[in-house]
């Protein structure tokens, strides 16, 4: 379930800013208007158009929010986005007349997507990525509309109402936010890769750019947000913080910039394609929120579209910040001599607790060299989450495991077991510290307190018992009923 923990503070700031800007509101007027576009009221949809709309709905990952996890009815909304000031529920976007968007005209639908304005004139919370969808073409809006009106079965049950407490229930205030942070349709071509490229390559890059910035709304997670929760850059013209990586739910969200050492610098275009199509490649296995994005969205994209996305991302240079502190390219090669960690683990003498725990729990798959196995067991050496400033993702993965999505090209739900049931806070901290400071890794140590916090936040959950041998239950019972002896 997505949790945006930074929101309360930021929305409070937003509310304060809005209150102080009453005069500005007066100047702006108080009634939202739909911007003009070539959207027509003609609703004659053909199967081809509906099919294209279905594909675009995948590309835009509408399902991620508008379908409740595990629900059989698609797009019926109800998926809760938790926050301490209340729960935001994604809406029902099936064509049911009252519960859903059945009464939306095409221009209403376009306004919701691009401007965040509902048919009744009220504003959507910007959890809906309309700042990105603003760049969707008229043709694509038309196809999406056709799909949601005629390709999706109506669900008449309404999704739960979102009712936040004051001042967050003042949806009108979002208009001011929009005025500050949302561009009008920004479908301009970028300039930085227009010359010296063949027409085909140029077309590929443009398509990639369109998908990444628009439907894909990659920036929603991968671009750092500003004081008012706005994305600091909505496109590649908007600054080099676009897709420069950030943090979500305390998990590091990696940079997608092709020039960034912390981003995709060491990834080939094929690596990016593999990752988006299958959630795994030779560098990484997906985890956290991205699992669902791959499952429901990117694994359904055509090879051509994935190629264009990969091609486009490679054109994004390093950020200035990155350039200033750039580390030399780290290309782990199997031909180099074993590093100190590999030698230490292989000889298995004078091991500290972390190294011993690594051999007992991790080595079977990730190996003494920390390189795992291509596309099956992800490498730990150089791994983004292992080296993240915030170790939450690593701790969480050690304790609760991970599971890859089943995708058309790679159907296997490869699963890492959780070790919650057999590692104490101290042990998990030693292990995490070992992994963060071995091979090519160089990150801070992890404390037992940090592990305890992750355990606390997770609570007692079902995955905690993964991998635990059943015989232990009997062993414990036997031990409990037998007097201790020496």
């Amino acid at each position: 379930m997505p949790q945006y923990r930074n929101w309360p503070v930021r929305l409070a700031l937003l509310a304060a800013a809005v209150s102080a800007a009453g005069a500005a509101m007066a100047v702006l007027g108080d009634s939202p208007t739909h911007s003009q576009s070539s959207i027509s009221t003609d609703s004659a949809a053909n199967p081809q158009l509906i099919k294209r709309g279905a594909y675009l709905a995948r590309a835009a990952d509408c399902m991620a929010c508008h379908t409740r996890e595990g629900a059989s009815k698609e797009y019926a909304g109800g998926r809760p986005i938790e926050s301490p000031f209340g729960t935001i529920y994604a809406t029902n976007i099936t064509p049911a007349p009252k519960a859903g968007i059945g009464e939306y005209r095409e221009q209403d639908f376009a306004a919701a997507l691009r401007q965040g304005i509902r048919a009744d004139g009220s504003y959507l919370y910007p959890a809906m990525p309309y700042p990105s969808y603003a760049s969707l073409s008229d043709d694509d809006i038309k196809a999406l509309y056709a799909y949601f009106m005629e390709g999706v079965p109506p669900v008449t049950e309404p999704a739960p109402e979102t009712s936040l407490s004051f001042p967050f229930n003042q949806r009108w205030a979002i208009r001011f936010w929009n005025w500050l942070f949302v561009d009008e349709v920004s479908n301009t071509s970028s300039a930085n890769h227009s010359r010296d490229l063949s027409g085909d390559r140029q077309q590929l890059l443009e398509r990639g750019r369109y998908l990444v910035q628009g439907a894909g709304h990659c920036g929603s997670c991968h671009t750092p947000r500003g004081l008012f929760m706005q994305e600091k850059a909505l496109n590649d013209q908007d600054g080099d913080e676009y897709l420069a990586g950030t943090e979500l739910n305390e998990w590091q969200v990696p940079s997608l910039r092709g020039g960034d050492a912390s981003g995709l610098r060491d990834w080939s275009e094929d690596d990016v394609i593999d990752y988006l199509a299958t959630g795994r490649n030779r560098h990484a296995a997906t985890g956290g929120e991205m699992t669902s994005v791959i499952q429901h969205s990117t694994s359904h994209l055509t090879d051509a579209d994935l190629s264009s996305i990969a091609a486009y991302l490679t054109t994004l240079g390093a950020t200035d910040k990155q350039r200033a502190s750039s580390a030399p390219a780290s290309t782990p090669s199997s031909h180099t001599a074993p590093d100190a960690t590999t030698r230490q683990l292989t000889s298995a003498t004078s091991l500290d607790e972390g190294a011993r725990l690594y051999l007992d729990n991790c080595n079977a798959c990730h190996f003494a060299n920390g390189r795992g196995a291509d596309s099956v067991f992800p490498p730990l050496s150089g791994n983004t989450q292992v080296n993240a400033d915030n170790p939450t993702a690593l701790i969480s993965t050690i304790l609760y495991g991970a599971q890859l999505p089943s995708t058309p090209k790679r159907p296997e739900r490869l699963q890492m077991p959780g070790f919650d049931w057999r590692l104490s806070n101290e042990e998990a901290a030693s292990l995490a510290s070992f992994v963060r400071q071995s091979w090519s890794n160089d990150a801070s140590r992890v404390t037992p307190e940090q592990v305890a916090e992750v355990r606390q936040a997770h609570g007692p959950g079902k995955p905690a018992q993964q991998g635990r041998p059943d015989s232990l239950d009997h062993a414990r019972e036997d031990a409990a009923s037998t007097p201790p002896s020496n």
């Binding site: 299958t278 080595n363 079977a364 798959c365 196995a373 291509d374 596309s375 099956v376 067991f377 495991g401 089943s406 058309p408 090209k409 790679r410 159907p411 296997e412 739900r413 490869l414 699963q415 077991p417 993964q466 991998g467 635990r468 041998p469 059943d470 015989s471």
Partner: protein
Amino acid sequence: MSITQPDVDVVIIGLGWTGSIMGLEMTSAGLNVLALERGADRSKEDFLYPKPADELKYGVRLKMMQRPRQSTVTIRRNRQEQAIPQRHWTTFHPGDGVGGAGSHWTGVLYRATPNELALKSFADRTFSPGFLPEDMTIQDYGVSYEELEPHYDFFEKVAGLSGQAGNIQGEMIEGGNPFEGPRKNPFPLPPLPRTLTDTLFTKATQALGWHPYPYPSANVSGAWTNPYGMQLGPCNFCGFCSNYGCLNYSKASPQTCTLDALKQRENFAYRTGCEVTRIVKHEEDGTVKGVIYRDADGNEVFQPAGMVILASFPLSNVRLLLLSEIGKPYDPVSNTGVVGRNFSYQITGSMDLYFKDHQFNPFISAGGSGQVIDDFSPDTFDTEQHGFIGGSYIYTTQGPGGAIGALRTPPGTPQWGSEWKKQVRQHYGHHMMIGTTGTNMSYRDVYLDLDPTYKDPHGDPLLRMTYDWKENDLRMTEFMAERMREIVAQLQPDYHTESVKQRGDHFDPSSYQSTHITGGAIMGTDPKTSVLNRYLQHWDAHNLFVMGASAFPQNMQHNPTGTVAALTYWSAQHIRERYLDNPGPLMSPS
């Protein structure tokens, strides 16, 4: 019948290797497929590290296996004895649940040789007339090696087979098995890393002029993505293979090679806890119209289907055919009927060598790790001169080194106490085993039928096995013991012990032999001597296909899984290319 389910195109009985392969093939053909599995669902959750590494639960208590109280077999050695039920699995281990035997198998993946598939023809042209014993009933499979080769090749890619080819399109490759049939392609992956036992065995057998090669292993040596996009990770030699689910995605199994791909298909569904008790015939034309099963709640359910694919363990296949009264039961007295005929098994032997100065680390092991010679196969030397038809491969494998099963003590050691502990300490890790896995011919009085006395909880008779060793096969295994002694002499251990059969021995079901149970519903080209035609299609019911080693007319030395899978793809190909457009018998009797 209280419940009738909606019709499906294909119902598959049993969701192991052959069931899941047929599921993939039939859904690819656009059919609606339902698989019914008697046991529980088994996903990777059940095999997460370190859960399977539990020798007591899986190695001793055999929790991956069919529960004898649910269904077992009765065993006798001849028609004069009273058959007794197996109340604990000893001599073989029938699997249970999704994945079936494909989840708990060892992972040794072989092909049959061209002559093994046409053994009767080979014997007729090789031996003097009258050499074969009169009661021996061996037959050809009716399908040739050349016909199966593409299907072997494909399944080896599905399983990520690791090893060294010996014969690629007629070109002999050093270090591979020179006696194998020609392969179109090399192995998908190189052999597993070599252990000390492999090295010693190689040296000894080369000195004897023989041709050692690495065990062909479906415990894979590297990362592998198969044609379905399913993935295997490199084996780490944890040693929990035979009787266990793999904890490392390293052993080819339905869980790692087929099931997640199959589950993605919208025209596929499966139900667990559903035990099929009858295949139901149409009264008019003898074809089948579906199955009756008991669901998890004990309800009796009729599942109508256009085609039935019987894909359970060989013993269950034969029993269900007998219970459903499809095909004529075999009668050894009148030598008529076919269902239950040509049941065969496997004859094995082993020697245990102790070396004070070698440390073998048996806890580093994999089921498919080892070194083998095929120099004494049925067609590689003059067996007639030694008085038998058949052969064995001779192999070594390191470990497994489990705390319960791997403890070896010298003869004369007490079974418990401080002396036992001392001997265990001294001997652990100093043993090397060599073994034989041999052919088993089929005979007129070795067969399966329904037991007249013992019944399962539904009141249906258990399957009865009438089985004993025969002189031909015992001569063969005596010959192999001599070859093993030659290897022992080369290796010069401090001492060795032997566990080999000899003439005069009788079948003893109280100790483990092998789970390579074959025959009883065999394939062939003559409905008078086979249940299935050469496409695994039932002679009497053209919309019933029966998968698995129950189709083998006699057992070969090589492990059955490769041939079981290749036959499944072969059958599927003919169903897809010929049967679906024109349902009816795929061949007429020859």
